[in-house]
């Protein structure tokens, strides 16, 4: 059979079909004109954003919500550099993404040509891998490899830089059946001996704690996690990235650990004799003062990325492998009658009663109350967050029940992530209610995407917990800088209701507790892009809190 002849641009589109790509988030420009000409007729949905950063975040949100690889597209130079924050966000949180960028024609590369930037160089430290296509005939294999690398092992973003002239060159198209990557062979199956040793440690433990993270969600191991927790009757604490890995309402759930974790999770970790860490990376926001972290515990660390093991803490028993496989392997050895955690669970129960997550219940409209109300009215919603106080309250006060329902920039902590990500989430899960729990600061970093939501008819809800401050920074200034609120007051911000209206979205406002439910109901019913301005208490703090550099049991309640 003769191979069909086509342009490089067409070959890109054909390759994306082969990878079952349904949607591209992008923004056109000079060096991607041939590609956009193909997109004009292509059977792939294209969402036109208003800033390339939003294309990357939307592709990321789509990927986190669906588990599929997200695709974003931008032109060379500024288009490509505008993707950088979004790519770095995806890299830190292990999100499968393929970023396509245009590049100046090959003959001009290195000449400081118009809209030229060395994007493969720039993104070297923030991609799992990247490519500069030097020959149009390499396009199919490059795309095949890019998706393979992005999706497998520890997922991550891969960038493909496509010089404009490779897009117009004619090639014979044949999509490769398999990739040959000598240097890339992820380990999925855990070592059986290690698993056996882990099981024997687990059965001997009297005070075990399961510490679960985003890797559980990525691996699809939530059921196995639940089975293990119930099998050994061990409390489960999750990282921010693992909020949706274990049901918040489960009797064995002790919530999030670390800087803004629950007191009882932090106490449990510090007193534990065995930490079973799965799909986590012992981030500094989790461990606090590392030399004082879980000193009484042996640590089992399960992760697909061998480089995470032993990076931050000493590990007594490493298991490299996919969390789902390893947990399944562990379950074979767990016999419930051997479990000796009764006393431990009683102690944790006492802590839970003594130190619940709480806030002042008075007549004032407090942000935690708004999150609780969202949780009650929309229990099945996918929650997306911005970064800062809004993110912590969203983690603390929403009742998560299913994986891929909490979507947040955990590692990089990217303000402005939530709204464009929520657009990607809604595109991937159109049947779900998608709510971006936002702050007034973060939302204003990408509020231009209201146009994207309106133009493409993507009904997401932005719930702004509007305190007129960069709240988390203000909180640190209050606590550690003598209330000197240097540049954190956002007085003079836009009227968010009018802003929504100007874009053709629905703007709603609540200033009293009694109005909260009504506006949430109205937002959900409208089936339009909505911005709700919740005018909340201005100087509310996220509590409890472990001060930076302290051990995680040195946790304070803040008023």
């Amino acid at each position: 059979m003769t191979k069909p002849k086509m342009t490089g641009a067409k070959a890109v589109i054909e390759s994306l079909y082969q990878e079952n790509v349904e949607v591209i988030f992008g923004y056109p420009g000079g060096t991607v004109l041939p590609l956009y000409d193909e997109i004009y007729d292509a059977d792939i949905r294209h969402i036109l954003v208003r800033h390339e950063q939003a294309a990357a975040h939307a592709a990321d949100g789509y990927a986190r919500a669906t588990g599929k690889a997200g695709v974003c597209l931008a032109t060379s130079g500024p288009g490509a550099t505008n993707l950088v924050t979004g790519i770095a966000t995806a890299y830190m949180d292990s999100v499968p993404m393929v970023a396509l960028t245009g590049q100046v024609p090959r003959s001009l590369i290195g000449n400081d040509a118009f809209q030229e930037a060395n994007i493969t160089g720039i993104t070297l430290p923030i991609t799992k891998h990247n490519y500069l296509v030097n020959d149009a005939r390499d396009i199919p294999m490059t795309i095949k490899e890019a998706f393979y690398i992005a999706r497998t092992g520890r997922p991550g973003p891969v960038l493909i830089d496509l010089p404009k002239d490779t897009q117009t060159e004619i090639i014979e198209f044949e999509y490769p059946q398999e990739v040959k990557l000598r240097g890339y062979k992820p380990t999925y199956t855990g070592n059986e001996q290690q698993i056996k040793r882990a099981a024997s440690l687990i059965l001997k433990a009297e005070k075990p704690v399961i510490y679960a993270g985003g890797g559980i969600v990525i691996s699809g191991a939530c059921d196995e996690l639940c089975a293990l927790a119930e099998g050994i009757m061990a409390p489960v604490t999750t990282t921010l990235m693992g909020m949706d890995a274990f049901p918040s309402g489960h009797p064995l759930s002790i919530g999030m650990l670390g800087m803004h974790g629950t007191r009882y999770a932090n106490y449990a970790v510090q007193e534990s004799d065995l930490i079973i860490a799965a799909g986590v990376r012992f981030d500094d926001r989790v461990t606090g003062k590392i030399s004082a972290f879980a000193q009484n515990a042996k640590i089992i660390h399960i992760d697909i990325d061998p480089a995470e093991i032993g990076k931050n803490v000493r590990v007594d028993l490493p298991i490299v492998g996919d969390a789902k496989n390893v947990l399944k392997g562990l379950l074979k050895y767990i016999k419930q009658e051997q479990v000796r955690t009764d006393a431990w669970n009683k102690k944790i129960e006492t802590w839970k009663k003594e130190y619940p997550l709480s806030y002042r219940k008075d007549d004032l409209l407090r942000p935690q109350f708004v999150v609780e109300q969202i949780s009650e009215v929309c229990p099945d919603a996918v929650i997306v967050t911005e970064v800062g106080q809004n993110q912590m309250w969203a983690a603390q006060f929403f009742n998560y029940r299913n994986p891929r329902t909490f979507i947040s920039s955990g590692g990089l902590g990217t303000m402005g992530y939530g709204f464009p990500a929520s657009i990607g989430v809604k595109v991937g899960k159109p049947e779900s209610t998608v709510i971006d729990i936002a702050g007034d600061g973060s939302f204003q970093m990408n509020s231009q995407e209201l146009a994207t939501a309106v133009q493409n008819d993507i009904p997401v809800i932005v719930a702004i917990l509007n305190n007129g401050f960069l709240g988390m920074v203000r909180q640190w200034q209050e606590l550690f800088f003598n209330r000197r609120y240097s540049q954190t007051c956002l007085d003079g911000s836009v009227d968010f209701v009018k802003l929504a209206d100007a874009y053709g979205a629905l703007g709603l406002r609540a200033t009293k507790k009694g109005e909260v439910r009504d506006v949430i109901d109205e937002a959900v019913k409208s089936e339009r892009p909505v911005v709700i301005d919740f005018v909340v208490e201005r100087e509310e703090n996220v509590s409890p809190m472990v001060p930076a550099g302290a051990a995680i049991n040195e946790i304070l309640d803040l008023e």
Partner: protein
Amino acid sequence: MKHTVAVLVENRPGVLTRVAGLFSRRGFNIESLAVGITENPDTSRMTIVVNGDDHVLEQVMKQLNKLIDVIRVSDISHDETVHRELALIKVGVDSSTRAEVMQIVDVFRAKIVDVGVRSIVVEVTGDESKINAMEQLLRQFGIKEMVRTGKIAMNRGAKVVQKDKR
């Protein structure tokens, strides 16, 4: 402590940047790095000497292994190895010192590869300490220029660095 790491990589543009970039952004110190093609033209081999304790070395190796273009990383510090470095040293001479320099070159089994009126270029091969010693001795005559390749190393006997991952 110094470690010698042999790294097999894809022979492709940009691979050196990926490896060097990794060292700098993770805060690892490269003592020397030598790279060249292997018996397989698709594969290059780097010999990297890195300074750090065992924890640093473990992270270096794991992070290198994560690079898609890195085929194999092997710590050969504790193996029986042949390791060599080559240096070219341009020494200032005149008629009164030339003979003495040539004598030193002889003793070290080095070679004179260029002779000028006021200088000679010495080529010396050996392990690091030999080259250091040579440098020390020639310094008194005035070293005008020196270039060193960095260490390359290979296991003695039949043992080789494996050519695939795990």
